[in-house]
C-alpha cells in the first residue's frame, strides 16, 4: 500500500469530459425549464477525462485492505471470502436491466430468486417466511421489530411498548428499538456471560413487546437457557427476536426457529458471503414464524413453484405457477420499509453462494467456523487475557494483553495499540472495545474460509506483538509503521469538521 494524496477535484480542468452520450433523439426544447425553476450556476462537479478517473480510483483502491487482500479477524462481522461466481451472476444484464415496476409476468426469473431464497433460508433457519426488503442488518432489526409491533397492534394489544435487550447486545439493538418507538429495558448477564434468567423474570409483564437476543451471544457463548427464556417471554405475551449477526456458527447445526424465536434477521453480507463493499450495500432479510405472515412488510413474493426452480437439479426451464407480489392486509402488515424489494443484486449473490454450498456442504459451515475460533483462542490464551475460558462458538473475546509492558514512566500497550500493530503485518484488526463488558475487549472471529496456515500465521504475529509489548510498549504505541498513513488525529476532525471539498479549500 502506498500513500497517494489526491482527490478527483485536483484533476479538474474546465472543458474536459469523461463521457459520451447517444445521438439526440429529438430536437432540444429550450422552454422545458422556465427561468424561475433553473439553478443560478452549475454545480461544482469536477471536469476530468476518463483516463484521469481510471488512474485516480485505481490509486485510491491501492490504499484499501479487503478480504481479497488478507485475513480479517473482525468479531461479529463474519468477514468470509466473497466468491467471484456471485459477482458474475449479479452482473447478468437480464437481471441488472430490470425495472422494478415491470409487469410481474415479465420478471418471473426475478421472482423465482426471491421465492427460492425464501425457501432455502427457511430450511436453514427453521422460519416459515422471509422478506427481503430490508437493505442491511440494522434495517432488518428495525423491520423485525416493526413486525413485532404490527402483530401486537393487529390483535388490539396496544400497550406492549417495552423491549428487553441484554447488556451484551450489539449497539444496533437498542438503537433499532428506539427508532421503532419501543422503550428499551436492559437485562443483565450473569457471571458466565449469559442472560441472567432471575434478572429477566421481574421485567416480564403486560407491557412487554418482546426480547431481542443473539445466540450465540456477542461473547461467542451459546445461551443455554434459551428454552426457559422463550417459555417465560411467550407466557408473558411477548415475542422472541433473533439477531442473526451471529448466525454463522449455527449454519448447518442449529435453527433459530427450533429454539422458539418468532422473528429473526440475517445478514447476507456476513454468513451468506456477499461482499461488504466498504460498508454496503448489504441485505438484511427478516424471517418469521408462520403465524406472523400477514405482518410481513410489502411487497412480498407469493406463489408456489416446484423444486425445479430452486435448483434441486441444474435445469429449471419448466414452467411454474405465476409468482406475484400478492395483496396485503393494511390492518396487519408492518408497512413498506424500503423503496421496493431491497437490494436485489445482493440477494442474487447470496443465492449463488447457497447453491454452491448446497445440502452437501451446509453442515461444514458453522462447525468449521467454530473450530477456527476455538483454535485461535487456545493458542493465544497464553499471551492475552481470556475472561471467559469455556468453549466458544464462531468468536470470542480477549480482554487485552497479559503483559502490556507497563512500567515506571511508561504506559502499557492497549488493545488499540495491538490492533494498530497488526496492520503492519498485513492483518486487519479484530473488533476492539466491544462488547462493552470488558475494558480492553479484542473480539476475534475467523470464519470457515480461513485455512489452518492463515490462522497459524496470525497466531504467530499476535505472539510477536505480545512479546514486543512486554519488551517495549512504545513499538505498539507508535504503530502502524508500514501503512499509507500513521494514526489520524480524530479529535481535530471532530472538533473542526472538514467534510467536503469546499471546506477543505477554505482551510
Amino acid at each position: 500500500m502506498r500513500y497517494y494524496d489526491h482527490l478527483i477535484f485536483d484533476y479538474s480542468k474546465s472543458g474536459r469530459c469523461g463521457y459520451t452520450l447517444p445521438k439526440a433523439a429529438a430536437p432540444e426544447v429550450s422552454t422545458a425549464v422556465p427561468e424561475g425553476l433553473r439553478r443560478a450556476s452549475a454545480p461544482a462537479l469536477p471536469e476530468v477525462s476518463e483516463v484521469d478517473v481510471v488512474r485516480h480510483y485505481t490509486n485510491l483502491s491501492q490504499m484499501n485492505f479487503g478480504v481479497d487482500t488478507g485475513f480479517y479477524p473482525l468479531g461479529s462481522c463474519t468477514m468470509k471470502y466473497n466468491p467471484k461466481i456471485n459477482e458474475e451472476v449479479a452482473a447478468l444484464p437480464a437481471f441488472a436491466a430490470i425495472h422494478p415496476l415491470q409487469p410481474v409476468e415479465t420478471v418471473q426469473g426475478v421472482q423465482a430468486v426471491y421465492a427460492g431464497m425464501e425457501q432455502m433460508l427457511s430450511a436453514i433457519t427453521g422460519m416459515a417466511y422471509f422478506t427481503f426488503n430490508p437493505c442491511a442488518g440494522a434495517h432488518g432489526e428495525l423491520t423485525g421489530l416493526m413486525i413485532m409491533r404490527a402483530w401486537h397492534r393487529s390483535r388490539g394489544d396496544m400497550g406492549r411498548t417495552k423491549v428487553i435487550v441484554p447488556d451484551s447486545a450489539h449497539g444496533t439493538n437498542p438503537a433499532s428499538a428506539a427508532v421503532c418507538g419501543l422503550d428499551v429495558v436492559v437485562v443483565k448477564s450473569n457471571a458466565d456471560g449469559l442472560v441472567d434468567v432471575e434478572d429477566l423474570k421481574p421485567l416480564l409483564g403486560p407491557d412487554l413487546a418482546g426480547i431481542m437476543m443473539t445466540n450465540p451471544n456477542t461473547l461467542g457463548l451459546f445461551e443455554r437457557d434459551i428454552k426457559q427464556i422463550a417459555a417465560l417471554v411467550h407466557e408473558a405475551g411477548g415475542l422472541l427476536y433473533y439477531d442473526g449477526a451471529n448466525m454463522n456458527p449455527l449454519i448447518g447445526k442449529v435453527r433459530p426457529g427450533d429454539m422458539g424465536f418468532d422473528i429473526m434477521h440475517l445478514n447476507l453480507h456476513k454468513s451468506f458471503s456477499t461482499p461488504h463493499g466498504g460498508g454496503g450495500p448489504g441485505s438484511g432479510p427478516v424471517g418469521v414464524a408462520a403465524f406472523l405472515k400477514d405482518c410481513l412488510p410489502y411487497p412480498h413474493t407469493e406463489g408456489q413453484q416446484d423444486n425445479e426452480t430452486t435448483g434441486s437439479s441444474a435445469g429449471c426451464t419448466q414452467r411454474v405457477d405465476l409468482l406475484t407480489c400478492g395483496p396485503f392486509d393494511p390492518q396487519k402488515t408492518a408497512g413498506r420499509v424500503s423503496a421496493h424489494m431491497g437490494n436485489f443484486g445482493v440477494i442474487l449473490r447470496a443465492y449463488a453462494w447457497l447453491l454452491t454450498i448446497g445440502r452437501q456442504h451446509v453442515r461444514e459451515v458453522g462447525p468449521i467456523a467454530t473450530l477456527n475460533a476455538n483454535y485461535i483462542k487456545e493458542l493465544l490464551r497464553d499471551a492475552y487475557k481470556l475472561p471467559i475460558p469455556s468453549v466458544c462458538k464462531h468468536e470470542f473475546v480477549f480482554d487485552g494483553l497479559i503483559n502490556d509492558g507497563a512500567r515506571e514512566g511508561k504506559e502499557g500497550a492497549t488493545t488499540l495499540d495491538v490492533a494498530k500493530r497488526l496492520l503492519d503485518f498485513g492483518f486487519h484488526a479484530p473488533t476492539i472495545y466491544f462488547p462493552l463488558l470488558f475494558h480492553q475487549a479484542l473480539m476475534i472471529e475467523p470464519t470457515e474460509t480461513e485455512s489452518k496456515e492463515t490462522l497459524d500465521a496470525f497466531i504467530d504475529v499476535m505472539h510477536r506483538i505480545a512479546a514486543e509489548a512486554a519488551e517495549d510498549p512504545d513499538i505498539l504505541h507508535a504503530a502502524p509503521h508500514a501503512c499509507p498513513i500513521s494514526r489520524p488525529d480524530d479529535t481535530t476532525a471532530a472538533k473542526h469538521p472538514v467534510i467536503n471539498w469546499a471546506d477543505l479549500q477554505a482551510e
Binding site: D490, T491, A494, K495
Partner: protein, 125 residues
Amino acid sequence: MAKVETGLKYAETHEWVKVEGEFAFIGISDYAQHELGDVVYVDLPSEGEYITKGEDFGAVESTKAASDLIAPVSGCVEEVNTALDDTPELLNEDPYANWMLKVKLADASELDSLMDAPAYEAFCK
C-alpha cells in the same frame, strides 16, 4: 485522581452546581471530563429555555463517547457559556472554571438532594 472542588453541589450524573444568590451555575465534574476524554462538542439550550431537574438539557461529545447532560436543578436559563461553542476543550482544561449554564433557580430545595464535595468524592471511588 479526579479533582473535586469544595463548596459545590454534585449530582450522581456528574454535573456540579454552584449557587450564587437566586442563581445557579451548572457544569460537569473533573471526573466526568476525564471519563469522556477530549471533548469536541457541547450542545446546550438557549437563553430563556426552562430546564427541569432530572431531564436532559444537552449533551457533551468526545471522540469516543457522547453523554447526555442531566439537569441537577430546575430553572430558566439566564446565560449560556458561548465560549464552549468554539473551544469545547475548555471543559478538559478546567471543568470547574468553565461553567455551562447560568439558571435562575426555580426551587432552592432541589439542592438538598445533591451531594456535597466529600460525599461526591466517596461516590466516585
